[in-house]
């Protein structure tokens, strides 16, 4: 159960980036979570609602994209997507290596940009 520390890192990282860009309010955050990343989407959402309060993300919605496990064959250069623990390459029969599904990546966020008054003085 380290979803809380993962979400704390997310809120910290996005807040810092948003402040640098002069973003005043964040509306959505996109997070990619690999199916094998040892993090449960529903626990991440629960923790997000707790941690975001009193931050620039207070009104934000967390959108999680679950990334399926990918296996790569070094010989054929082909990727295969499946839910098995391991599998041999469907083409050459050699063992494949895990190449995806471990992601924990902030893809981006949306919000209200810098105060428009500066740009439209009238």
């Amino acid at each position: 159960m380290h979803e809380l520390s993962l979400i704390s890192a997310l809120v910290e990282e996005v807040s810092r980036d948003a402040q640098e860009r002069g973003v005043s309010r964040i509306t959505t955050v996109n997070l990619a979570v690999g199916k094998r990343a040892h993090a449960l989407p529903h626990a991440l959402l629960f923790c997000f609602d707790l941690i975001k309060q009193d931050t620039i993300l207070a009104d934000a919605q967390l959108i999680i994209e679950v990334v399926p496990p990918v296996f790569y064959c070094e010989r054929c250069g082909l990727n295969e997507v499946h839910d098995k623990l391991w599998a041999n390459c469907a083409h050459c029969g050699l063992p494949t290596v895990p190449a995806g599904g471990m992601e924990l990546e902030i893809r981006g966020y949306e919000g209200d940009g810098p105060d428009a008054r500066k740009e439209n003085k009238n």
Partner: protein
């Protein structure tokens, strides 16, 4: 006057564990400068991590200057058990957190004397410690016979990221239902490069391959490779 806000869309592509990875990189540089070999010991609660250290430390302390970092949620029980061995033991209480991270480890290094080998016993857990690099040279997973033979399949990543797997409590094999050949086959599939060892730390049998593996990690670090 009504404020007019501009909508902004930011693409980040930033790893959530990035901060730990950077700190672990700093630790790795520090350990390289000191030629200090570091082993991160993982395993479930009760797998026998502390017992393995208890059996190994008297032998390792004869050869090297050894330090131990003990990760535990609340108690100092394990550190007390190990302090008798002559190793420099530091306790980190994570106060409920399920894993050690690079920041916690970095925070106690100043308290350790000059060493050849640092053994880090992580919090008993096969899930959370996996994603947190501690700047170690090698990761060893302790898996006891009494945990059941399905654990490598249930927690594949712990085994996939390890350089060594220690099957512990082998003396219990006659008393439990455990398919040892199946476990060895699963481990070979999950991580063909890992060194797999079988031992009983309380029975003091099978310790030699484990000690040799630890020695190989130290020797490699001393050579600076």
């Amino acid at each position: 006057m009504h404020e007019k806000k501009i909508k902004i869309k930011v693409a980040l592509a930033r790893d959530l564990l990035q901060r730990n990875k950077i700190l672990a990189g700093d630790l790795r540089t520090r350990f390289a400068e000191q030629r200090l070999a570091v082993i991160n010991l993982l395993g479930s609660p009760g797998a026998g991590k502390t017992t393995l250290l208890e059996a190994s430390l008297p032998l390792l302390c004869g050869q090297y200057r050894v330090g131990v970092i003990e990760g535990d949620l609340y108690t100092t029980r394990d550190a007390e058990r190990l302090a008798r061995s002559g190793a420099a033991v530091i306790q980190i209480n994570t106060e409920g957190a399920c894993h050690l991270d690079a920041q916690l480890v970095g925070g106690v290094l100043e308290e350790l004397p000059e060493l050849d080998l640092l053994l880090i016993e992580n919090v008993g857990n096969l899930v959370c410690p996996v994603g947190f690099d501690l700047g170690e040279d090698a990761r060893a997973v302790v898996l006891s016979i009494s945990e059941g033979d399905d654990k490598p399949e249930k927690y594949p990543q712990a085994f996939q990221t390890a350089q060594a797997v220690v099957l512990s409590k082998l003396d219990l094999l006659p008393y439990v239902s455990y398919d040892l050949p199946a476990v060895l086959a699963t481990l070979a599939h999950l991580n063909p490069a890992a060194t797999v060892m079988q031992l009983s730390a309380t029975g003091k049998s099978g310790l030699a391959p484990w000690l040799e593996w630890v020695e190989s990690v130290v020797a490699k670090k001393k050579r600076g490779s």
